[in-house]
Amino acid sequence: MMTRVVRALALTAHRWLSILVLPSAFRREYGEEMEAIVRARLASRSGPLRVAKAGATELLDLVRAGPAEWRETRRSFKRGSGSMTGIWKDLGIACRSLIKRPILSLGVVLTIGLGIGATTTVFGVVDGVVLRPLPYANASRLAQIGTILPTDRTVDPRTGLQPLAPMTTTDFQGFVERNRSFEQVAATSPGRIVVRDGTGLETFVPIGNVTEGFFRLLGVSPALGRTFLPDEFTFPGDVDGLQQSVAILTYGYWQRRYGGDPDILGQPLEPAGTDDQAARSTIVGILPRGFQAPEALYGSADAPQIY
């Protein structure tokens, strides 16, 4: 009985002394094993005196080992491998190195900046050209048709492909007649007309000459009025001719030029008239707000305000 009490006391004393004299990291690593040894050693002794002597020997041993472990812990901390481990240690080293070598640091910052810039640019292009769908109904079923000229060696930097050259009216007519691949086909070309602005000055306004199915193909319904009717379009000598006498305004142009007046429908573009024949076309519809002209079709020309 007495032996058991002494054994329990010795073990408890060893446990508490461990907490006092050993660094926590060492205790976490070896504490359990040490206690198992002390327990086994105390169990192997019989009689309270022998157990007490064995316990005292272990306690003294612990007191001797403790300072050495604390010295080692402090050394590890100074080396940066103690509690300051892993990512914090690496960050500390990185910061100190960067401060010590400003030119190298500048180079690193510029390199990273260039890398991020280049990646952002490439993503922007890929997003605009490949990822983001066109702002039209059934965008995935739209395709641009054009001519590839064998003599043209230029490459579109955005797509990496040879650019499509415009089709002539004759080619387009031939294409429409023989078309079996596309549900609908429409054509457009940029142009401009001369109109008077609100103050009476004559100005150029960018327009889009379109075939009659153009807006139906893009899935665009007008905000006011209507789009073109089949009998309002005939192939002229050239699509650029704008022979048709009806016009559709973009929402923005309608707001700016006519103050959003709904009675403008059925009126000519330019009541007073200019020398430009097209300026006398009758307004039959207003496109919805937010409609975007297909960028790829107008190249460097300004987006049309009138169709």
Binding site: F26, M34, D61
Partner: protein, 114 residues
Amino acid sequence: MDDQPAVSGPLFHILLSLADEPRHGYGIIQEVEVRTGGRVVLGAGTLYSAIRRIREWGWIEEIDAPEDGDRRRRYYRLTEDGRDVVRSEAGRLQSLVRQARDKNVLDTAAESAG
């Protein structure tokens, strides 16, 4: 190995006890006690302080418990570096003993005992 710290008595005994087979901590203590006839008794603190150091130096390594071992205990094995250290230290001690013998400070009884 040139900047290897001096091998103290307890360290040498621990390494020597692992020379023939892997052991757990209490196994090392028992082997040393038996081998030295009870003259060297390692405490748990001394043992694990030494184990911590010689593991860092790569002289011993921890292994899984052998098939017939106690799975609750952590076992250690001598590495090749550790074996070199034991060999080198034993050679140094042998050389010392030879020098002592040359000086006739060892009598036959002491020699056979030691």
